[in-house]
């Protein structure tokens, strides 16, 4: 029983760090999206928009490389997409963190399971599906 309580407390520490990680991720990405939004609105708020037809070739900043190039020019839309990327990476960071905590617990079965999940996500980063 005492071993179980100890185990539970150890988990609790990990959970607190995880909670902080998630909160920081969400706050940071919202702040970046907000900044990009302000730049975008101050420069283009009178332009007209229509999304009634799906034209993927017109979507700006649809890859990590494009977003980085846009960031250098302080493009509002690129900054928004960077914030979106940060948001996407927040749960991924949680997986990475979990793998490390399994490693510290010497639970190698779950190090492998976590790595499989991470590999699937990384694969999705490179997946290029026809429209």
């Amino acid at each position: 029983m005492s071993k179980q309580i100890k185990h539970y407390l150890g988990d609790k520490d990990v959970q607190v760090i995880l909670g902080t990680l998630l909160r920081v991720g969400v706050i940071l990405s919202t702040a970046v999206v907000l900044l990009g939004g302000i730049i975008f609105l101050t420069t283009q708020s009178n332009h007209s928009v229509s999304f009634s037809e799906f034209k993927p070739e017109q979507t700006k900043f649809s890859s990590v490389a494009e977003i980085i190039v846009g960031l250098k020019n302080m493009d509002g839309l690129a900054i928004i997409q960077f914030g979106v990327l940060l948001l996407i990476f927040t749960p991924i960071a949680r997986v990475v963190f979990s793998i490390f905590s399994f490693l510290m617990e010497k639970d190698y079965m779950y190090v492998i399971i976590g790595t499989i999940v991470l590999c699937v996500i990384i694969t999705s980063l490179y997946l290029d599906i026809a429209h």
Partner: protein
């Protein structure tokens, strides 16, 4: 429509989606998609891209509040994520090959199902009979704190639960939603995990699953920054306030009202998909 007007309308809608989503436990995606497609005439592809971002935002936002209570079973989450992330990518691939109208109809049906599940009384099936060989092998059984000390629970029907998560992940990738309702069936009813654990663990999985499909949607050009911006800010603001209200108020009546609204939206989506208008 000007950029400014579009941003303001989506911002208000996303705020309400985040607020109601967190109050009713339904999530933001199921409201964002009808808002954008039915309300603003946005193509379903863009709506799905925006929705998947809102799903990550609500999942990470509320998870930050949940994990402090220390009841997420990270092993169950990680184990089932193998199924949900793989199938989410399968879902995105399927979405590339079927007609948009079919996706709209499937979305409407899932919306109906989610409304039904929201009202259905939940029954806790959990027990501590460690009979599942797979659950023992994968160390899925766990414990959580209650007022009367630490309570042990056993996980059952691992294969069935894993299969259900595959369905949930596919729909998540196909429709850009969290598939919370299906994950609950998989964890509560099939695997017999206690509520306190299943709710937070499923929330953990929703974010990771959505991240996998979001990256593919980004590359497909379905995540437009001009839509993502008001959706992200609105949903996060709404969900944060919703989580604070939730602690103080009972939401039973709200759930009934909301289920009616969601049912109407679902029927409209199905009609839209069938008539192609």
């Amino acid at each position: 429509m000007t950029v400014l007007l579009f941003t303001i309308i989506v911002l208000i809608g996303a705020f309400l989606a985040g607020l109601l989503g967190s109050l009713t436990g339904l999530g933001g995606g199921v409201i964002i998609i009808p808002l954008l497609t039915l309300g603003l005439g946005v193509d379903i592809h863009y709506a799905i891209g925006a929705s998947i971002i809102s799903v990550i935002a609500t999942s990470s936002g509320s998870a930050a509040a949940y994990v402090k209570e220390g009841i997420t079973n990270v092993r169950i989450g990680m184990f089932l994520e193998v199924a949900t992330t793989l199938s989410a990518i399968v879902g995105v691939v399927i979405a590339s090959y079927i007609k948009a109208d079919y996706i709209i109809v499937i979305f409407g049906l899932i919306l109906l199902f989610s409304a039904f599940m929201m009202l259905k009384k939940k029954i806790d099936h959990s027990n501590n009979e460690k009979t599942s060989v797979l659950a023992n092998y994968f160390k899925l059984n766990g414990s959580y704190p209650t007022e009367n000390g630490i309570k042990q629970y056993a996980v059952h029907h691992v294969v069935g639960g894993f299969a259900m998560m595959f369905v949930a992940g596919t729909l998540s990738g196909l429709l850009g939603i969290g598939s919370g309702a299906l994950k609950v069936i998989g964890m509560d009813n099939i695997m017999k995990i206690p509520f306190k654990v299943s709710t937070t663990t499923s929330n953990f999985m929703i974010g990771v699953t959505a991240a996998a499909s979001a990256l593919v949607y980004l590359h497909k050009g379905q995540i437009d920054p001009a839509i993502a911006m008001p959706v992200t800010i609105g949903v996060i603001a709404g969900a944060t306030i919703g989580a604070k209200i939730l602690i103080k108020t009972k939401t039973d009546k709200l759930k009934v009202v909301f289920a009616v609204v969601v049912t109407i939206l679902a029927l409209q989506m199905i009609y839209k998909g069938l008539t192609g208008s």
